[in-house]
């Protein structure tokens, strides 16, 4: 119940119209980016906490994390993940690039297709 309420209300708008300082489109993207930047900082601090706890319990010295060198196979696994990740977050760039080619091949807006098949 409280979690449902938090999901609904944590991001509530305060009373009073919001001022915009940049083009609203730009400011909207900036606001999302700053929230993501915040979550990245939070994740970074959490990793730091884990590393310090692991070291304090004598499990993994932090120096070992610092000097960790993946094997060739490990590197390949990690590098593949990076490629997958970049593909995922830059989906829009790929799709806008493909749009030029698709348009040349007669890619249609959906209403046109709707008319055609109705």
């Amino acid at each position: 119940m409280s979690i449902a309420s938090a999901l609904l209300h944590a991001s509530d708008k305060p009373a009073g119209k919001r001022p915009y300082f940049l083009d609203p489109e730009v400011e909207r993207v900036m606001a999302v980016t700053m929230a993501v930047a915040q979550e990245l900082a939070v994740a970074r601090q959490r990793i730091d906490t884990l590393e310090r706890l692991l070291e304090a319990k004598g499990l993994v010295p932090r120096a070992e994390v610092e000097s960790f060198t993946p094997s060739a196979a490990e590197y390949a696994e990690r590098a593949l993940w990076s490629q997958e990740y970049i593909n995922r977050i830059l989906r829009i760039v790929q799709q806008e690039g493909q749009a030029a080619e698709a348009a040349a091949k007669g890619d249609l807006p959906i209403p046109d297709v709707t008319r055609e098949i109705s």
Binding site: S5, D12, Y20, A35, V42
Partner: protein, 398 residues
């Protein structure tokens, strides 16, 4: 000790030497009513505190540099004169990308603070409400739901705090004040001390130093919210009967439970609109105080509150208010920057308040001009070169 421990200690030592900035949110004092904060919820606050520090110490100076280098010169080139007031200065600033970016980030950081605090408080709102209800604080709490929320509170949520001081998500809810209590660290960067009560402590100390023979028997705090600046006064005068008044039910409920949790016994909280203190007889109080309250009022209500304060003050009593300095005499650029909150942080009375000569309003309310009180404090610069904060105590003795 092996080598790695030594190098870790060295690294920690040099980091401590190098670090110049706000303290960890965890250094804030916890009490029974304080919301439980997870590791990540604390780090969310810490990030935003660093954002505010960065904006204040790294970006704000660029706004001033830009003002001098191109904004004011451009205005002069267009108009053949310098900006004559803060409105012209603000409009010129608004056209410049550096001011736009600083402002957009400042506004977002405040919105993110509200979201971060609300997430943590609302997710545990039921347990917080149960805690507030179970603490033996109810006898020091007197609610009157017939008190209407004034227009100047309802129309705009001050400092972008959704629901302001008065909204309950359900009967008994205290998530609003719990968010306020835990999130304020982000805005003041820990400079109010572990209990965010620096203003109250400074005011109590100043009264004790300035008026060593003044022993108020009854103290009234108007717009007390969570009571954070009232408790130092209650501690400074433990014999006094201390009353905090607010229009908001959730803040009063939280304030009573918080006072209970912190073991301050001589304080009660009453729901009332400070423009109508008719439940108190003339001359009831020796000290009437407000902290960062006047700028959230309206002109009519402020004058009415001064009159009521004068009425409920005993002869020889003192009304003392803490605010930021008035604009008079400041250059247009400084006024425009200080006025940012009025336009962009939901503080619609801020401009008017800081443009007034409050002395005249105390006199109009019936105080003697010869009894007016004014004291300006400027804090040292904060960690990491954060700007000095000026506080002004204004008021009058009766």
């Amino acid at each position: 000790m092996d080598g790695s421990e030594a190098s870790t200690q060295l690294a920690q030592h040099s980091a401590t030497e190098a670090y110049d900035g706000p303290p960890d949110q965890r250094t804030g004092a916890r009490h029974a009513m304080y919301p439980d904060l997870s590791h990540d919820e604390i780090e969310r606050f810490n990030f935003l505190t660093q954002m505010n520090r960065h904006l204040a110490t790294r970006v704000a100076p660029m706004v001033e540099t830009t003002w001098n280098a191109r904004i004011e010169p451009r205005f002069e080139a267009e108009h053949g004169r310098k900006p004559k007031d803060r409105t012209e200065a603000r409009k010129a600033l608004l056209a410049d990308p550096v001011f736009q970016t600083w402002s957009a980030l400042r506004r977002m950081t405040m919105e993110q603070r509200q979201e971060a605090g609300r997430w943590a408080a609302i997710r545990q709102s039921e347990s917080l409400a149960a805690k507030a209800a179970s603490l033996p604080s109810r006898e020091r709490l007197s609610l009157d739901p017939t008190v209407a929320v004034p227009r100047y509170v309802a129309a705009v949520d001050h400092h972008c705090m959704p629901g302001s001081y008065h909204t309950e998500l359900f009967p008994g809810d205290v998530s609003g004040p719990a968010s306020y209590d835990s999130g304020i660290h982000v805005t003041v960067g820990g400079r109010g001390g572990p209990y965010n009560d620096g203003i109250g402590r400074t005011m109590a100390e100043w009264i004790q130093e300035t008026y060593p023979d003044f022993k108020p028997r009854r103290i009234l705090d108007l717009g007390t919210t969570t009571g954070h600046n009232l408790l130092p006064m209650a501690r400074a005068f433990p014999e006094a009967d201390v009353v905090g008044v607010d229009i908001g039910i959730p803040v009063l409920r939280y304030a009573a439970a918080r006072a209970e949790a912190l073991g301050v016994k001589n304080v009660r909280f009453i729901q009332a609109d400070a423009t109508d203190l008719s439940q108190f007889e003339d001359g009831r109080f020796d000290l009437v105080m407000t902290t960062m309250f006047l700028h959230e009022l309206s002109l009519t209500s402020m004058d009415a509150i001064f009159r009521e304060a004068r009425r409920v003050l005993a002869p020889g009593g003192l009304m003392l208010n803490m605010e930021q300095p008035a604009y008079a005499g400041m250059p247009p650029f400084e006024q425009a920057i200080r006025d940012w909150d009025a336009h962009y942080n939901n503080e619609p009375f801020w401009t008017t308040l800081h443009s007034l000569n409050l002395d005249d309003h105390f006199v109009d309310a019936g105080f003697e001009r010869g009894n007016l009180v004014k004291k300006v404090f400027t804090t040292p610069a904060g960690p990491g070169g954060q700007e000095k904060i000026s506080m002004v105590f204004v008021g009058a003795a009766r």
